[in-house]
């Protein structure tokens, strides 16, 4: 298997404000969000980072997508370092998160062309890709409708398509089904399986066990910013359910659940 993502000793700390210190009930001024995280993902697989809220999943994905810079460590994605070559990494990945939005004023047609230009996709290639993706995801009929007037499901499809306008080798998806209704969530999970069928590598974060069981080829369990366990579902769980195994791991690390 060809390694497409390799994270080595990723570390990220944040400064806590007085208010955050009160909420976290700590006198510490810095919080370690990710603490020496290392893992690898391979070409054509869906790799899931599973962990509770605040475990460091989103911070890890933000570092991999070069939105934030690691304090220590590095990650290599499709041959490029997130620390040394962030621009090249951005052209190799498609990052999807609820944090990134599309301007409601524009149409899918316009946004596809705009983000294609942002990634430097040649016009002919962009036109062909638009035909292919709009047709495959049923966006054709809505290509001239302003994003603000689209249904939630169609908006999600447009966001997904725009994120992969440049045909990235790796798709990074933070909490893919969070806050979505069942229909839109299905659009997303089907889309990820479709991407996998197209040979893309997918890295996702989630705290939903069923999503991991349905989609992921391999999973890494992350607690308090550290990778505690990793492997295929079979390797990780054996005969146990993923949920039971996760809480077993969690108790071993943290003691009590609450």
């Amino acid at each position: 298997m060809q390694e497409i993502v390799r994270a080595e000793g990723l570390r990220k700390t944040f400064t806590l404000s007085k208010k955050q210190q009160r909420i976290e009930k700590t006198g510490e001024t810095r919080k370690i969000a990710v603490d020496g995280l290392s893992f690898s993902a391979y070409r054509g697989e869906i790799y899931g980072l599973l962990g509770p809220n605040g475990a460091g999943k989103t911070t890890t994905l933000r570092m991999l997508s070069t939105l934030i810079r690691p304090d220590a460590g590095d990650a290599v994605i499709a041959g490029h370092s997130v620390v040394k070559e962030p621009d090249k990494v951005r052209d190799k990945i498609g990052f999807m998160t609820s944090e990134l939005k599309l301007e409601k004023f524009f149409t899918p047609d316009y946004l596809f062309d705009f983000f294609g230009a942002m990634h430097g996709v040649p016009k002919e290639k962009l036109a062909a890709r638009k035909r292919e993706l709009f047709s495959r995801f049923g966006i054709d009929r809505f290509r001239g409708v302003r994003v603000g007037d689209l249904s939630t499901g169609m908006l999600q499809k447009v966001s997904l398509v725009v994120a992969i306008v440049h045909d990235p080798a790796v798709v990074i998806f933070d909490e893919p089904t969070n806050g979505l209704d069942v229909l839109t969530a299905k659009v997303v999970t089907d889309f990820l399986l479709e991407l996998k069928a197209m040979g893309k590598s997918i890295l996702l974060s989630t705290h939903i066990f069923s999503l991991v069981e349905k989609l992921c080829d391999r999973v890494g369990v992350i607690i308090d910013g550290r990778l505690i366990a990793e492997g295929t579902l079979q390797e990780l769980c054996g005969e146990m359910q993923l949920e039971d195994k996760f809480f077993e791991i969690y108790r071993a690390v943290k003691g009590e659940i609450v």
């Binding site: 933000r62 939105l67 951005r90 524009f106 942002m118």
Partner: protein, 369 residues
């Protein structure tokens, strides 16, 4: 290619939204209408006036003044001064035009002969009487002094201040024009999360900054041009001259004013985009921008009160352009001051773009909670 796409996006956003276009052109139109109305009112055909004037002492000069007033089509009613305080109060209330106080044996012109004219500078009628009486007394004889005494501030002061306010008004209008489109385009995009989507692409941060400042400056320039036209077209009416006479102003003056306005636009846009990038929301950006607006307004009004400042003024953004515009409005042509101001304002704008690039590259600014 990425910069062009970023710029086209801003233009597309603006030119496909009629509301934005209207708000951009409105200041210039309003300026033209307001100035025209003010000018028309100030220089409208006046009705014949009947002046009521109290006279203390006696002099044949009174009949000279009366002749001068009659020549303008006005009339005057002379009343003997019995109670000076009461008469002054009437002048202050605008009920009487003036009080004339001749010194003893005025017509014999002793060494210390004088005539005191108490008038109200804030009242048009009283000011008119003072102007006519003053001119008439000057033709009457040379060996006495005329002591004008206005019970209120001199109208001349008001006019000087008003002329000083023109550049201030222009800066304020440009700022308002820039503010409308800029805050929404930067802080609005940041708040909605759409700027982060662009940052997740491989577009260089410097191009993203330029891709905001250049098109927004072009768009705001339309508003600035509208304001400039509003001022230029309404000036003849405001100053009470015919359009033909106003056309006699050197073309250089217009050209330099236009260049100064053009240099102010990117400076103001870059200032607002920079603080908008720093802000977490439109609300926060509006608060920061208000502070900048006050600062810029202070800088643009300083020259109205301090007319003689040194050459160092050209180094101060806003103040340099306002100072140069003030001189141009006064009929001078400060070429080097204007051109250096224009050049420096573009340099300051470029520095602000670099600062914005730094902010766009900062994860604490762009993604900090």
């Amino acid at each position: 290619m990425k910069l062009i796409a970023l710029m086209k996006k801003e233009f597309h956003r603006f030119f496909h939204d009629p509301r934005l276009i209207v708000t951009m052109l409105l200041p210039g139109i309003l300026l033209y209408v307001i100035y025209s109305i003010m000018g028309t009112a100030m220089y409208a055909e006046k009705e014949p006036q009947a002046y009521k004037v109290y006279v203390g002492g006696s002099s044949a000069a009174v009949s000279v003044i009366e002749t001068a007033i009659a020549a303008t089509g006005d009339t005057v009613e002379w009343l003997p001064l019995e109670d000076e305080e009461a008469a002054r109060a009437e002048v202050e209330r605008g009920e009487a035009a003036a009080v004339l106080l001749f010194s003893e044996n005025f017509d014999e012109f002793p060494q210390d002969s004088s005539v005191r004219i108490v008038y109200n500078g804030a009242e048009e009628k009283s000011s008119n009487f003072y102007a006519i009486a003053g001119a008439a007394l000057e033709s009457y004889g040379m060996r006495f002094s005329v002591i004008p005494e206005s019970v209120k501030s001199d109208e001349e002061i008001g006019r000087t201040l008003f002329a000083g306010f023109l550049p201030f008004l222009i800066v304020t209008l440009i700022f308002s024009t820039c503010m409308g489109v800029t805050i929404e385009s930067v802080a609005g995009e940041k708040e909605r999360g759409t700027l982060s989507t662009i940052l997740a692409t491989s577009a260089p941060r410097f191009q993203i900054a330029l891709g905001k400042v250049i098109p927004l400056s072009c768009i705001a320039s339309i508003g600035a041009a509208s304001s400039f036209l509003g001022v230029a077209l309404s000036m003849p009416k405001l100053m009470g001259v015919s359009l033909g006479a106003f056309g006699g102003y050197p073309v250089w003056s217009y050209l330099l004013i236009f260049l100064l306005i053009l240099s102010l636009v990117p400076l103001i846009v870059a200032s607002i985009t920079t603080v908008s990038t720093l802000s977490r929301s439109v609300k926060e950006a509006s608060a920061y921008t208000s502070v900048i607006m006050i600062l810029f307004m202070l800088l643009s009004i300083v020259s109205a009160f301090v007319p003689t400042m040194g050459d160092w003024v050209v180094c101060i953004p806003i103040l340099n352009a306002v100072g140069a515009m003030g001189s141009l409005f006064a009929g001078q042509i400060p070429v080097w001051q204007s051109l250096v101001s224009v050049g420096l304002n573009f340099v300051y704008s470029a520095l602000l773009v670099l600062l914005m690039t730094k902010f766009l590259s900062s994860e604490r600014v762009m993604f900090g909670k």
